[in-house]
């Protein structure tokens, strides 16, 4: 019993720590002042302005588009890569693994300018596509890193057994390997999404032609002070995430109960 309450309190404190700034942010989205420093009374005006702000809504669209597509692509690419790399041997494996580490190791700005130079040499037009390529590049390593430990945990004989029983490699992959490493794939995908949605430097240097995401909009507002419209948008994003999460969870619970009968 004591242990249970210690766990509860610990969980509560950690979540408090994670959510404290978010709560502040939400409260300040109702602040009737452009500056962060003072509370000037309650207002909904930032929410109204948000829906009139074509640029920010477009940036939101780009952000989600890039984050969703880059996390899906890098999760798929990364999952296959991780399985392949795990089954390699010797010096080659080491070289590949270390190369894979580079986008994680390098400061963002270095990744940003080196990719920019690459795109410039290859005469690609800067825009949504180059931004997507660069996001995939820095997301895949994280996916691979979160899947490798799961592969290590996996019982490899299961796969071989499936093959012996006549399964095709793809069938065995789908039915045996993937289910076993699923938690790793999910955490990898989550990390990729998180990194993509939050990136400024790499996006900034690898976009063009009027394509910008929320991070670019926010960072370039910094000199003049961040427009509270952004706080309003973040609040709405946060709340819709929570609602989505709770409904999915509710449904899963129901499915479980019904499935049990």
């Amino acid at each position: 019993m004591v242990e249970k309450s210690i766990k509860r309190i610990y969980t509560f404190l950690i979540f408090m720590f994670l959510y404290a700034p978010i709560i502040v942010l939400i409260i300040f989205s109702f602040n009737n002042s452009k500056s962060r420093g003072v509370w000037n009374g309650f207002t909904l005006k930032w929410y109204i302005e948000l829906f009139k702000d074509r640029e920010i809504l477009k940036a939101l669209y780009n952000t989600l588009l890039i984050a969703i597509s880059s996390s899906i692509i890098s999760t798929i690419l990364g999952t296959f890569a991780a399985i392949g790399i795990y089954n390699m041997n010797g010096i080659f494996k080491k070289i590949i693994l270390n190369l894979n580490y580079l986008p994680v190791l390098n400061p963002d700005i270095l990744t940003a300018v080196s990719l920019m130079a690459l795109f410039r040499f290859s005469k690609l037009e800067f825009g949504l596509f180059t931004m997507l390529l660069s996001h995939i590049t820095f997301c895949v390593p994280y996916v691979i890193l979160s899947i490798l430990p799961k592969l290590k945990q996996m019982n490899i004989y299961l796969y071989e057994a499936a093959m012996d029983l006549g399964a095709t490699p793809f069938y065995a992959l789908r039915k045996v390997i993937i289910p076993q490493i699923m938690p790793g794939i999910i955490t990898g995908g989550l990390m990729a999404f998180t990194l993509s949605i939050d990136d400024f430097v790499i996006s900034f240097f690898n976009t063009g032609h009027g394509v910008s995401n929320l991070s670019i909009a926010i960072y370039s507002m910094a000199r003049r002070g961040i427009n509270p419209v952004i706080n309003a948008l973040s609040t709405l994003m946060f709340i819709s995430m929570l609602i989505l999460l709770f409904t999915i969870n509710k449904r899963n619970d129901k499915d479980l109960i019904e499935g049990g009968r």
Binding site: P21, V24, L99, I109, S114, P183, G184, M191, I230, D253
Partner: protein, 278 residues
């Protein structure tokens, strides 16, 4: 076994988007000249000579120090959290992991600004402290604030990999240990922790590395009074315009981190796991 073929598409990707840019960075690091005119660089080792002087060494040591402390704190805070979550029933577990990640979907700059509102001299925490009759604390613009920012931003990157490894530990092993009379602490030290080590190493990598090269956290929460290596690299690329020196510092940082991670992965008994370095 033909499983390694699955990695070929990514190998191609690595070649184009990682290896070629790395060659470019090396080219920058070993040359000098106007960074924007690619044709006119001269070979030089000056960038490296410049880095190995006391000023930059001091900055490097400070950065390593802060990154190390923040990694240790994140591990101490994150491991129990991952353990608690992994013991929940599956539906609640996924929910909790998602709730762990969602705050990170709010923009980094906005979250860090929100910390300013909390930690400032007239901030919310100090207002509460003075309400209950205590003296206000100096929470901002020091190393503690920088550490807090690092722990806050990198904690999920520690919890997620550890969590995903913990969920798949064979419960039979734990029960066996308990049947054989191991105490819960013994079970943890002898069974659970060793089995989760690959997740821990991945977590350490994902926290230590960005903590080494961060610049926004030290700048917003540390007040820029003492630079980290990330600040100096950023300054070269985005203000001074000396991409050569910036690249060579990045290369040095990269080698340094690779060595550190190589040493860390020595703790991974059979080197097949997440670390996989050397």
């Amino acid at each position: 076994m033909k499983l390694k073929r699955f990695s070929y598409p990514y190998l191609l990707w690595l070649g184009i988007f990682v290896a070629i840019p790395l060659v470019l960075v090396l080219y920058f690091a070993f040359t000098t000249g106007d960074s924007q005119n690619f044709g006119e660089f001269q070979f030089s080792l000056d960038n490296f000579k410049r880095f190995f002087t006391p000023i930059y060494m001091k900055v490097l040591i400070r950065s390593v120090n802060l990154a190390f402390i923040s990694t240790v704190i994140t591990l101490i805070l994150g491991y129990p959290m991952a353990l608690i979550i992994s013991k929940e029933k599956p539906s609640k577990r996924n929910m909790m992991i998602l709730m762990f990640v969602i705050p990170m979907w709010m923009n980094f700059l906005l979250r860090t600004y929100a910390w300013l509102t909390l930690l400032g001299r007239n901030g919310l925490i100090n207002t509460l402290i003075t309400k209950i009759g205590l003296k206000p604390l100096d929470l901002m613009y020091n190393d503690k604030a920088v550490l807090l920012g690092m722990v806050y931003n990198f904690l999920p990157f520690m919890v997620l990999p550890i969590f995903s490894v913990l969920t798949k530990i064979d419960q039979g092993l734990i029960e066996a240990a308990e049947d054989l009379g191991a105490s819960r602490i013994q079970t943890f030290i002898k069974v659970i922790f060793p089995l989760s080590i690959s997740g821990v190493i991945t977590g350490i990598t994902m926290v230590f590395v960005p903590a080494m090269s961060t610049f926004v956290i030290s700048s917003l929460l540390g007040g820029n009074k003492s630079s980290l290596i990330g600040n100096i690299i950023e300054q070269q690329f985005r203000y001074t315009g000396d991409w050569h020196f910036g690249s060579s510092m990045s290369i040095i940082l990269m080698i340094f981190i690779l060595i550190t991670m190589g040493l860390t992965s020595k703790f991974d008994k059979d080197k097949e796991g997440g670390g996989g370095l050397w």
